[in-house]
C-alpha cells in the first residue's frame, strides 16, 4: 500500500532513529523513505527499523530498507 506524504505521517516516521540513518541523511532532512522513495546517498545497511514503525502497521507495509529499495507500492 502506498504511504501518503503528509505531515501527519511524517510525525509518525521513525527513520531519524534508525541505525542506518546517516548524518548526511539528517543534514539533508531525508526520511519517510517508504513514501518518498530511496535516499540516493551512499550508506551502509546497519539495521532496519521499518518493521517497528507505526506507518508499517497502518499501511500494511512488508519488507524494509525503503531508504535503499525505494517507496512502498
Amino acid at each position: 500500500m502506498k504511504v501518503p506524504d503528509t505531515k501527519e505521517n511524517l510525525m509518525k516516521c521513525i527513520c531519524m532513529n534508525c541505525p542506518t540513518h546517516t548524518q548526511e541523511m539528517k543534514d539533508k532532512m531525508q526520511g519517510m523513505f517508504c513514501s518518498r522513495g530511496k535516499s540516493g546517498l551512499k550508506f551502509e545497511r546497519k539495521g532496519c527499523l521499518c518493521g517497528e514503525c507505526p506507518l508499517a502497521s497502518e499501511y500494511k507495509l512488508s519488507g524494509g530498507y525503503f531508504c535503499d529499495m525505494g517507496a512502498a507500492e
Partner: protein
C-alpha cells in the same frame, strides 16, 4: 501528563491481586534479578537491576536503592525510542553460590558495535570490586537485537540469549556465528564438555531477538521469548542443537506465537509459592509493545499469564494479568518473582522518559489480603 496522582492507579490488576509501588527514580530500569538465597540483614542485597544506559542498582532488604556499578557503557547513548536508544545494558543474573553478577551489554570498538557478557564480584554485594569478561566480540547493533538475557541453568551452566544483530538475519542459521543463538558456557567462559559442539558455545540457533529467559522447575528446562518482525513473536522451549527457524520462520519449534506482535520481554514461572497453588507452574510474560507508546495500547503494555501444556505442545490458558490503563509511556519490561509476589519494571515510568530524568519504577503484585 498522567491524570493519576498515584502511579499504581495506572495499572489494572487481575482479580484477587493488588499492586504496590516498591521503588522509583530509576533510570530506564530493564531487568530484575533476585538474590537466590538472601541474608536476613536489612542492609544485605535483595535484588539487582540493570538500567539501560550502563548502571546496575542493588536494592537491599530494607528497600534502599544503591548504585552497584555505573558507567558500564563506553559510548554516549541516545534516547531514541524506537531506534538506536533501545540498546545498552540489559541481561542480568545472580550466581547462587558466590553472589557474583553476570551482565550483558553492548560496547563500541573501532567504530563497530559489539556485544559481551561480564562477571562482576563484590565482597558484600553492594559495590562492584572486580569485573571479568566471559565472552565478547559478538557483532551487534544499536537498536535492540543485541545480546539479551543471561541465566544460569539447573545444570550450573551459563546460558546467553543473543539477538541476530538486525543487519543480516541469515547469520542466525550460521553455526559459526554467535548471533541469533542461545549460547551455553561454563561460568568462566569455557565451553562445556557436553555441548552439542565441543568447540562452540552455540547450543541452539535460528532466533531473532530473544529478550527473555526463564527456567522451569517442573522439567528443568529453559524457555525464551523471541521478538518477530511484522508478525509472530513467540515462546519456545530451548533444546540442544535445535533450530528455531529464523529468518525463514518464527514458528518452527515454538510453543506459542502472537501473530499480532506484542514485543515479549522478560518472563518467569510462578514456582516458589508466591501466589496460590492454582497458579503454580504458570508462565508470566511482560509484553512491552511498541517502544515509547503514550497511554493505553492494543500492543503490549501488559503482563500475561500462560499455562503451558505438560508436553510443551501448546498452551492451556492465556490471561491478561496486568494491563496499563494510564496516560504515560510506562510499559512492563523486566519481571521476576521475589519475596511474596511478582515484581516488574516499567522502563520509562509515568513521566517523560525521553527527558533524561530517572523516573522508572518497580512494582510488586501480590495476592490481595
Amino acid at each position: 501528563m498522567n491524570m493519576y496522582k498515584n502511579p499504581v492507579e495506572s495499572w489494572w490488576v487481575f482479580p484477587g491481586f493488588e499492586i504496590n509501588l516498591m521503588a522509583t527514580g530509576l533510570d530506564l530500569p530493564v531487568n530484575l534479578a533476585f538474590v537466590p538465597n538472601p541474608s536476613d540483614k536489612p542492609t544485605a542485597p535483595l535484588l539487582y537491576l540493570t538500567e539501560l544506559y550502563g548502571q546496575v542498582k542493588v536494592i537491599t532488604n530494607d528497600w534502599k536503592v544503591r548504585t552497584y556499578v555505573d558507567n558500564l557503557l563506553n559510548y554516549e547513548p541516545d534516547y531514541r525510542f524506537p531506534g538506536t536508544g533501545e540498546s545498552g545494558l540489559t541481561g542480568i543474573c545472580v550466581e547462587p553460590n558466590t553472589g557474583d553478577i553476570f551482565l550483558s551489554m553492548i560496547y563500541e570498538e573501532n567504530g563497530e558495535t559489539k556485544g559481551k557478557v561480564v562477571r562482576t564480584s563484590s565482597k558484600d554485594g553492594l559495590k562492584m570490586e572486580s569485573m571479568e569478561t566471559v565472552i565478547d566480540g559478538i557483532h551487534s547493533v544499536k537498536a535492540a537485537h543485541q545480546v539479551q538475557a543471561v541465566s544460569i541453568g539447573f545444570d550450573g551452566k551459563l546460558y546467553i540469549n543473543v539477538g541476530d544483530g538486525m543487519i543480516n538475519p541469515e547469520v542466525a542459521q550460521d553455526d559459526n556465528d554467535l548471533r541469533g543463538k542461545i549460547l551455553r558456557m561454563n561460568l568462566d567462559g569455557s565451553i562445556p564438555e557436553d555441548n552439542p559442539n565441543l568447540e562452540s558455545p552455540v547450543y541452539a540457533k535460528g532466533l531473532r531477538n530473544p529478550f527473555g529467559a526463564a527456567w522451569r522447575k517442573s522439567n528443568k528446562s529453559l524457555y525464551i521469548s523471541d521478538n518477530g518482525p511484522e508478525t509472530d513473536d513467540r515462546l519456545a522451549m530451548i533444546e540442544p542443537s535445535k533450530n528455531y527457524g529464523w529468518p525463514k520462520t518464527m514458528r518452527m519449534n515454538s510453543i506459542f506465537w502472537w501473530e499480532f506482535t506484542q514485543a515479549p520481554t522478560a518472563m518467569a514461572f510462578m514456582q516458589d509459592g508466591q501466589f496460590p497453588s492454582e497458579y503454580n507452574d504458570e508462565l508470566f510474560v511482560a509484553l512491552f509493545g511498541a517502544a515509547y507508546h503514550i497511554g493505553r495500547a492494543i500492543k503490549g503494555k501488559k503482563i500475561v499469564k500462560i499455562k503451558i501444556n505438560e508436553d510443551d505442545s501448546g498452551i492451556k490458558s492465556y490471561d491478561e494479568f496486568i494491563t496499563y490503563i494510564g496516560n504515560g509511556p510506562a510499559s512492563p519490561c523486566g519481571l521476576a518473582f521475589g519475596p511474596g509476589g511478582l515484581y516488574f519494571t516499567d522502563l520509562h515510568g509515568e513521566k517523560d522518559g525521553l527527558a533524561k530524568v530517572p523516573v522508572g519504577n518497580i512494582y510488586k503484585v501480590a495476592t490481595r489480603e
